[in-house]
Symmetry: C2
Subunit: 162 residues, 2 copies
């Protein structure tokens, strides 16, 4: 019995995270960007590589000036994937809005009707990324769960005017 409680080998564990609703949407969003099919040969795991930064990789990115456009683009895809996953779960349309103030500081919200279902103050956007697939999946899954709970708690605000 004890074996089932042990950490599974990494490949098995990856497969579990890759199958979660948020990560599935993130993979779809990434594949949707690839209009020329350059990434057809890439595995899902390879496709998510830009979202994963080791501590060393993080530290190597300077926090000067504005974040890299590529990094901002991945940040937007991350929150778009959460938005679409919320839509699939609740049937409620969700729109992202981002405001970058200066040098990697900003705010991201996901809106369902008149409800702010995700509210995230952004900082050090230059270093946007997660230490592992597990952490990436957990972060997205947590936003998704909280947003779904918000919509179920305040359905009249989420459906306001609809």
């Amino acid at each position: 019995m004890a074996e089932t409680l042990e950490t599974p080998p990494e490949a098995d564990s990856d497969a579990v995270w890759l199958a979660t609703p948020f990560v599935q949407q993130l993979i779809k969003q990434m594949r949707a960007q690839d209009s020329h099919g350059h990434w057809d040969g890439k595995s899902d795991l390879q496709l998510l590589k830009p979202f994963i930064l080791t501590p060393e990789e993080r530290r190597a990115i300077p926090l000067l000036g504005d974040p890299d456009p590529e990094t901002l683009w991945h940040l937007e895809i991350f929150y778009n994937a959460i938005a679409v996953a919320i839509e699939r779960e609740t049937g409620q349309m969700v729109s992202p809005m981002m405001k970058m103030h200066h040098e990697g500081f900003g705010r991201m919200v996901l809106l369902a009707g008149r409800l702010v279902v995700v509210n995230k103050q952004l900082r050090d956007v230059h270093r946007f990324g997660f230490p592992s697939l597990a952490k990436l999946a957990e972060a997205g899954g947590k936003f998704l769960d909280e947003a779904v709970a918000m919509i179920r708690t305040y359905p009249d605000v989420a459906q306001y005017g609809a």
Copy 2:
């Protein structure tokens, strides 16, 4: 008795609109931009001139390309003034977020906690302005009243996490 129902002379009418909570905040926001005191000699009415466009002035502005930065700046001041007026009325902090998609289309929201208290789809932003002081005051006042009503209807959403 009948006289009191007649439209007042224009100057009297202007004074009434200038005294409304939204227009008072709009004047304050404009004066706050004037750090060098260039506008000290301007009347409140003169200060609001950039928000007022005659139909001819509107039509003369081409809808090509991105809106003028000056126009975008006035648009932001208009919504900032609404935000501050809501704060004064409800004691609730309000933050604006704007997203310009392309060529004068976009969205502006004012957020109080987890509540979207003003939700405005923007179009033809190039021609942002109102035909008269009365229309300007009415537009801002309507947003203000609706936002205050939203906050009073959904206080737990507006104070979520606070």
